[in-house]
């Protein structure tokens, strides 16, 4: 039992130690120090022996991580004793502190010896390294970091234990949680009553539309551009949602249809490779139709495949199309690697779309149309056929669903939505080039569908806001957002695989796998429960 506890603490300590060293290696401590400096006000930032004035802020950052380490070491201790919590936190803090101390010692020695670390480690530039070692001798750096992490870890354990035993979380929940729950209940009740009545429903829609019209006017060009990007991904996500979420076909080459839409409008309206100079409003339906047609044509040979094979083939198609748009050999047709410039934007009553807000209206309109179409389809015979196909293709076929037609329909509709996104994207940027249509787009769209909640349209919109909008808001952490994005995807899949706002069916599906009793669990709690059950029966 003691050895188990020790091993658990050691593991936690090792994880936090690795994380700490990794954060320093990618230079995050400097960014974090700046953020903390901004947060607590620069007046409190004390320069330690001549460093850039952020030394204390960086130490605060490390201490916060140490605090977290101690809290996670002290959590779930059975039995819940002070000695166990402190012991675990001490071991954890010592291990992770030792890792950081050793690393600090090493960095200090190396930089004292005049080794330029940044030749091999890009973020270990002099300013970051200097901040990290605080202009102290190596042994002092090591002692400082060890003590800092150890003490903050112990403090974290005390806090954790206090939090677990204290009555205030419960009271906080009573005082804040209940009114919030009541407010939520009241809101949903009111919403229900309002939407039940036709007149009030339309007035609610009117208010929402008014808001949608007014909001883009109040935003600056940057925010309009960001909102536009998010909305394009909403369009793509809603389209992929039809293919993956409703029909259950995994498509990893979705970017192909997006590119087809964009290139159709670009080649039809731009002066450069073909000089057709058509109007945007003619090119828009053509772009959508071409994308839908491409979806059906590509679908015919590959839809016989199931599951992962379908994913791979669609991925192959996406890559083929990407390579073709990039090829020099096709420059006379697609504009080649330089792309197509001067794509025409839409004009309405002689006025051309100029600001980002105009495009946001267009995208919002497109989103509404897509939502309407998808809702109608979802609740129709087609939607039921998709659902049956997704659950079990063989059974669906036995029940008389023409799976081929239904799959082609899903593929075509999804492709048409992506084509619409592509058309608007190319028109807004007035440019389209091969670099906009990489595999990463397909992957991002798939991620936002799954993170948002597969098969659920509000979920998809939430996913687009979180995955495309949040990184834009966190510009300060620009260098680190993709690393964080990757890590978040993994954590999200482990913690909440059904997505942020899942459809009810999906939630049940995801958790169905967990409900059968697990045979290999070794927790003492399980054994106790089993024993109790035995006794009862």
């Amino acid at each position: 039992m003691t050895r188990d506890r020790l091993r658990q603490s050691l593991t936690t300590g090792a994880i936090f130690g690795v994380v700490l060293v990794f954060l320093v290696l990618i230079g995050f401590q400097a960014t974090a120090a700046q953020l903390i400096g901004g947060l607590i006000g620069n007046g409190y930032s004390i320069a330690i022996s001549g460093t850039s004035g952020l030394g204390l802020d960086m130490l605060v950052f490390f201490a916060l991580i140490g605090l977290w380490a101690g809290m996670s070491a002290a959590r779930r201790r059975t039995p819940d004793l002070w000695s166990y919590a402190l012991e675990g936190a001490a071991v954890t803090g010592a291990v992770s502190g030792a890792a950081l101390a050793l690393f600090g010692f090493l960095v200090d020695q190396l930089s004292a010896a005049g080794v330029a670390l940044s030749a091999y480690l890009a973020q270990m530039v002099t300013s970051n390294t200097q901040l990290f070692i605080l202009n102290l001798p190596a042994t002092q750096v090591a002692v400082l970091y060890f003590a800092l992490i150890l003490l903050s870890s112990l403090l974290g354990a005390v806090m954790m234990r206090g939090m677990v035993r204290a009555s205030w979380p419960q009271r906080l929940n009573d005082h804040l949680g209940r009114p919030f729950a009541r407010l939520g209940g009241w809101l949903s009740h009111t919403l229900h009553r309002v939407t039940a009545n036709r007149g009030s429903r339309y007035s609610l829609y009117g208010v929402l539309i008014l808001l949608a019209i007014l909001i883009p006017q109040g935003l600056g060009p940057f925010w309009n551009y960001t909102l536009g990007t998010v909305l394009i991904y909403v369009l793509l996500g809603l389209g992929l949602n039809v293919v993956v979420g409703l029909a259950g076909l995994l498509d990893l080459g979705y970017v192909a249809f997006y590119a087809i839409g964009a290139y159709t409008v670009a080649l039809l309206t731009a002066p450069a490779p073909h000089h057709l100079l058509w109007s945007f409003w003619i090119a828009l339906p053509i772009g959508i139709a071409v994308a839908a047609l491409a979806g059906v044509v590509l679908g015919v040979p590959v839809l016989r495949l199931r599951g992962d094979y379908l994913a791979i083939v669609t991925l192959g198609f996406g890559e083929i199309l990407g390579t073709l748009t990039r090829a020099d050999a096709l420059t006379s047709f697609t504009g080649g690697p330089m792309g197509v410039k001067d794509v025409a934007g839409p004009t309405l009553f002689g006025l051309s779309f100029s600001s980002g807000a105009d495009y946001i209206y267009l995208m919002a309109l497109g989103t509404i149309v897509i939502i309407l179409i998808t809702t109608r389809l979802q609740n129709s015979r087609v939607g039921r056929a998709w659902e049956a196909m997704r659950e079990d293709e063989t059974v669906a076929r036995a029940m008389g669903v023409n799976t081929l037609v239904q799959k082609l329909l899903a593929f075509g509709i999804g492709a048409a939505f992506a084509g619409m996104g592509g058309v608007i994207f190319a028109a807004r940027n007035q440019f389209t080039g091969p670099d906009d249509y990489t595999l990463m787009v397909s992957i991002n769209v798939l991620c936002l569908v799954i993170v948002g909640g597969m098969g659920n349209m509000p979920g998809v919109i939430a996913g687009a806001l979180v995955l495309k909008g949040l990184p834009e808001v966190l510009r300060q952490l620009q260098d680190y957002r993709l690393v964080a994005f990757g890590a978040l995807l993994v954590v999200m899949m482990i913690v909440r695989p059904e997505g942020i706002l899942p459809s009810r069916r999906r939630r049940l599906e995801v958790h169905a796998a967990e409900s059968p009793p697990q045979t290999d669990s070794e927790g003492p709690g399980d054994r106790e429960r089993l024993a109790r059950n035995d006794g009862r029966s």
């Binding site: 890009a122 590959v302 992962d308 083939v313 192959g316 076929r397 990757g486 890590a487 993994v490």
Partner: protein, 363 residues
């Protein structure tokens, strides 16, 4: 394969099959015609160029095969696309790079350690690259896949994509985005090799190419023997066949899966070092394209099938090298040919060239 047996017995040919046959015949005729044009009518390239292309294709194909093994092993056991496998190869590539750099900095009588003792250096580099990649594979499975063992199939795929994004960007932050030159030992200088005279023109068979090809074939044979003839290999096949029954037979399924990831990581690491030694550049994105190509190779050969992965890799490498001149396309379009082959094989023969080891029912 197809559940609709009753349907098929009533209608002799489905539209699918008709379309398949028509496309197949048209494609074959076109290919024969192009061969005729390129080899007989135009004669754009002499035999020396063809040989050079074939050699480069073989070498690249062997590396693809080595990476493809990792996909095949993991897919065979967990039925998931290990999307981060290409990035494990990148990790191995960096591991070998740093070993070489460190050895180059060590002084030995008569130059740097790297040039004076090439064989220990190469062994150390492979040990470093394979070791780092194996550790990477182990932790990848432990952190990103093991908690999702019983989740629906899309969930581990997204987790794998997340791990891939994380690894790529972490490498970019750690080592910068500029490509770095791989410093080989002097005997393995890139571009040098034996000269073969074909029709009066010299064709260089590079040392790095021969080294890469021979070493990957040896590793593949070793892996095949491991899977077929050792206790661990038998356990791996048993777990791939049926996990619950395997665990009833006393096999520690988790440990076998971990070891599978370690082995496939080590092979990917070796492929990474070879990639660096032969092609000479290492950067954070180096694993992405070989990863996708290798997955294609694994599917081509029949997923879950170890010799198939090798064959698929070599086939893909050669087709990629020889395809563009035969079809009269630019070399930029090699990827189009590679993926078109993938699509064609999956449409015509979804089980791959050598047939997959697992059946549809298990998937």
């Amino acid at each position: 394969m197809q559940p609709a047996v009753a349907l098929r017995s009533r209608i002799p040919l489905t539209p699918f099959q008709i379309a398949q046959i028509v496309i197949g015949i048209a494609f074959t005729i076109y290919l024969v015609y192009r061969f005729y044009v390129v080899l007989v009518v135009q004669r754009t390239y002499g035999p020396d160029t063809w040989l050079r292309l074939a050699i480069s294709g073989l070498v690249l194909g062997a590396v693809y095969g080595l990476i493809a093994i990792g996909y095949t092993l993991v897919y065979g056991i967990l039925f998931m696309i290990n999307f981060a496998h290409g990035d494990i190869m990148m990790v191995g590539c960096f591991g070998g790079y740093f070993v070489f750099e460190a050895l180059r900095a060590i002084h030995a009588p008569g130059g740097s350690f790297l040039d004076v003792y090439p064989i220990p250096s190469v062994l150390l580099a492979f040990a470093g690259g394979m070791g780092v990649a194996a550790v990477g594979g182990y932790f990848l499975e432990k952190i990103a896949y093991r908690p999702l063992r019983n989740a629906p199939r899309l969930v581990p795929l997204i987790s794998a994509i997340g791990a891939s994004i994380f690894l790529e960007n972490a490498a970019q932050l750690l080592f910068g985005s500029q490509p770095r030159d791989y410093s080989n030992p002097a005997v393995l200088t890139r571009g040098t090799g034996w000269n073969l005279y074909v029709g009066g023109t010299a064709v260089v068979v590079t040392y790095t190419g021969v080294f890469t090809f021979v070493l990957s074939i040896l590793m593949l044979i070793g892996l095949y023997l491991l899977v077929q003839h050792t206790r661990l290999g038998r356990a791996m096949r048993a777990v791939a066949e049926n996990k619950p029954v395997a665990s009833l037979m006393g096999i520690d399924v988790d440990s076998v899966i971990s070891q599978t990831f370690i082995i496939s990581g080590a092979l990917a690491g070796a492929a990474g070092v070879m990639w660096g030694v032969h092609l000479g550049l290492v950067y954070y994105y180096v694993g992405f394209v070989p990863g996708i190509k290798a997955f294609t190779a694994a599917v081509l050969g029949g997923i879950g099938n170890v010799p198939g992965a090798m064959l698929g890799g070599v086939f893909l490498g050669v087709v990629e090298a020889l395809g563009p001149p035969i079809l009269g396309w630019s070399f930029q379009l090699a990827d189009v040919i590679a993926f078109a082959i993938l699509v064609l094989v999956l449409v015509f023969r979804p089980t791959g060239l050598l047939g997959e080891v697992l059946t549809e029912a298990k998937v």
